[in-house]
Amino acid sequence: MKPSRYVIKAPSFNGESTIFYNIRSNVGIKVPSNRITRFKELADIQAFHKVLHKYHFFATPHEEEEVFVEHHTKKQEENPFHLIILPHQNCNFRCVYCYEKFEKNKMLPHIEEGIVKLVEAQLSSKRYKVFTVTWFGGEPLLAVDVIERLSREFQKITESYGVTYVSSITTNGYNLTPSVIDMLLNSGVVSFQVTIDGTKECHDHQRILKGGQPTYDRIIQNLRELSTRSHPYRVLLRMNVGQDNIQYADQHIQDMKRFFGHDFRFAMGFHNIGHWGGENDENVAICPENVTLDLSHRTIDHGMKADPIINKVQAYSPCYAASPHSFVIGVDGMVYKCTVALYDERNHVGMIDSLGNMTLHDERMHLWTQSSVEDSTCKSCYYSPACHGESCPLVRIENGRRPCPDFKKQMKEIVTLMDRQNYKFIDLTPLF
């Protein structure tokens, strides 16, 4: 029997095993390399048939269609209600690669009221089991009071409807003071994303205050304070990587290991700097290759935790902008789909008023949530379960081309890294 198109073969990190990994089910089967090297050899063992069937390892005539239907069913019915709220659209930083224009400021009180009413209406419909909020900006911690008030309301509403509430924040970390940390942890925030762009020298070159002052020492001090809290949160220490800071990555990793290596809740993640549309784009030197895998390995080499790579390739997890249940809400009630194309009219998909009415522009919504549906190439792609042609709807909208993510070409290396990060594969090695 043939393997499914979604099954790939990769070596384990120590080279002693072969892993057959299914992108559709996120299940991997590990066998000794000296006994099994081809899928056929695995499939020839009768005792494995049941498990191979259960997790879709065999090709079937309709698997493309099944994956397509599964994805669209999940997309319509099973996604959480997700709001990315911008409590403040200005920022105390002026990072060299930033694409935001900082023309707006703090969220207006009547928009806060509107958001609460919108959430109440959505959750009372009993359509959702989970409500997720991401606090984003500008810099969200310039409006701590907005976050505190809205969180309190969200906690009340979700409790009354029996809905799970999970929230995260993307912050530059400068205002993450002890009292703010406690407020956030009491407000349901379980995930922090804070960017540190390398060693003190690198970071203070790229991520400076509006007046040009450095920020590194204060962010580290704040994160060390966060580390003293016992709550079950996660911190992603993001490094935006370009030509100017990549050569200092190892030193940076060692610094992070020294500060946070003792705390399993802290992990490092790496992201290529791109030409994201900011004024300074032509002066930003980008790295041509995706740096994530290499730097993740180097992080582990140094004894520091790297963000689990599975997060990037999980089945049925395309970009939030493609979900019909995800909205970005700006300070003046403007509703967007994407947090990058803030100044593109096609991304201005609606408005919310003080009564919680969200008026949506159907055609623009369709652009973000449906534009991949007719793409037969995406439908037949081996990477389809992880992406569905929706890894970045913005690319398709702006350039009319398929937004194939770099990870699609790196799946073998990704599975090997997953093994190094102790992803739970079905390890059949002891049976041989």
Binding site: N26, N34, R35, I45, Q46, A47, F48, K50, V51, P80, H82, I84, T132, T134, F136, V166, S167, S168, T170, V190, S191, Q193, R234, L236, G269, D307, P308, I310, N311, K312, Q314, S317, C319, Y320, T339, N422, Y423, K424, F425, I426, D427, L428, P430, L431, F432
Partner: protein
């Protein structure tokens, strides 16, 4: 490569395979599932 002749002849049973599968997924909240939640939250 030399293989243990006894192991080579040994037949693997479906029960043994099921046991391994159960051990793999026998946990309340797996790292894998937790990863999925974080993925949603850290998408930007």
């Amino acid at each position: 490569m030399n293989q243990d002749p006894i192991k080579k002849k040994r037949e693997i049973s479906e029960d043994e395979v099921n046991q391994v599968v159960e051990q793999t997924f026998d946990h309340d909240i797996s790292e894998n599932e937790e990863g999925a939640i974080i993925n949603v939250l850290c998408a930007q």
